[in-house]
Symmetry: C2
Subunit: 176 residues, 2 copies
């Protein structure tokens, strides 16, 4: 069984999710959102992200991390802020000897929903469906779980996640 930590870094909120993968099947372990204290200077703000991720890694010992690759940002200012959060998140993982994998948003959506053009809502819905969650996770947590699922899918030779779930009719039943 391998644990995969997925991270959706942001300068205000960073979503995370851990899934375990056993016999080609992903299982939910935990997920959540780390809220950065935006009223504080940058260094203590990034410290909150770094320390919370370190504590999470120490608690669950995931071996691999998956993080969304960023190609475009709204502006140079937004890119700088996102980059700082990404850098802090990545070194939190490598400081715990984890291997960090990057996936494009398109690849993550493709792996989880079956189309690279999926909406945020579709990602949330399919994450809930694929992991048999009782409710939809918060958007940032869902994005973290989606990154973890994408990595699990690409590394473990899982059968296509989205199409498998649809074949089993879970996409429909989860609406009930």
């Amino acid at each position: 069984m391998a644990l995969v930590l997925g991270i959706d870094p942001g300068s205000r909120k960073t979503g995370f999710g851990i899934v375990s993968v056993s016999k080609g099947k992903p299982t939910y372990v935990t997920s959540g959102v780390i809220r950065l204290p935006v009223d504080q200077p940058l260094a203590p703000r990034l410290a909150v992200l770094f320390e919370n991720l370190n504590a999470l890694i120490d608690e669950y010992s995931p071996e691999q991390a998956a993080i969304e690759e960023v190609f475009m940002a709204r502006s140079a200012g937004a890119a700088l802020k996102l980059g700082q959060a990404r850098g802090a998140a990545m070194v939190a993982c490598v400081s715990r000897n984890m291997v960090v994998h990057e996936y494009s948003a398109r690849a993550i959506k493709q792996a989880v929903v079956g189309t690279g053009a999926a909406t945020k809502e579709q990602v949330q819905h399919m994450v809930k469906t694929l992991l048999n969650l009782p409710g939809e996770p918060a958007e940032d947590a869902a994005d973290g779980l989606a990154a973890a699922l994408c990595h699990a899918h690409s590394q473990q030779g899982l059968s296509a996640l989205a199409s498998g779930a649809m074949r089993r009719g879970r996409l429909q039943s989860s609406h009930l």
Copy 2:
């Protein structure tokens, strides 16, 4: 005596410099450039930055860090890369319980050269002069030292660095 670590983060090269401040006078301790392995994926690249800074902090135990604030970047792509390096550098400091201070490029130039519009060459030259160095430090190392000098200046109530040096005629003699 307080040690100040100045950092000039970059996605390819990160300059650093440590100065000690005693009785209002800054003294050179060390400086250098951390070169990131640009042929490697982002995570191991940032790991080199994080680990080298941690090793530096462990060796010299500076209490305070000074880092250049970034307002503008050439492009969103450049801003993202710079942000990632900045984030990694900042958490390297906060993970060692250092306090990190940010200064605008203008404030650093003002403190070191006496004008916020100083050129890179003027900064290099004044860093050499103020710290009585035998030669000019590399550009990135000079920028790290300049950030440290700026913090020393603002925190320790040093007499204006640049004007003091000029009064003592060191600006002229260092040309000899």
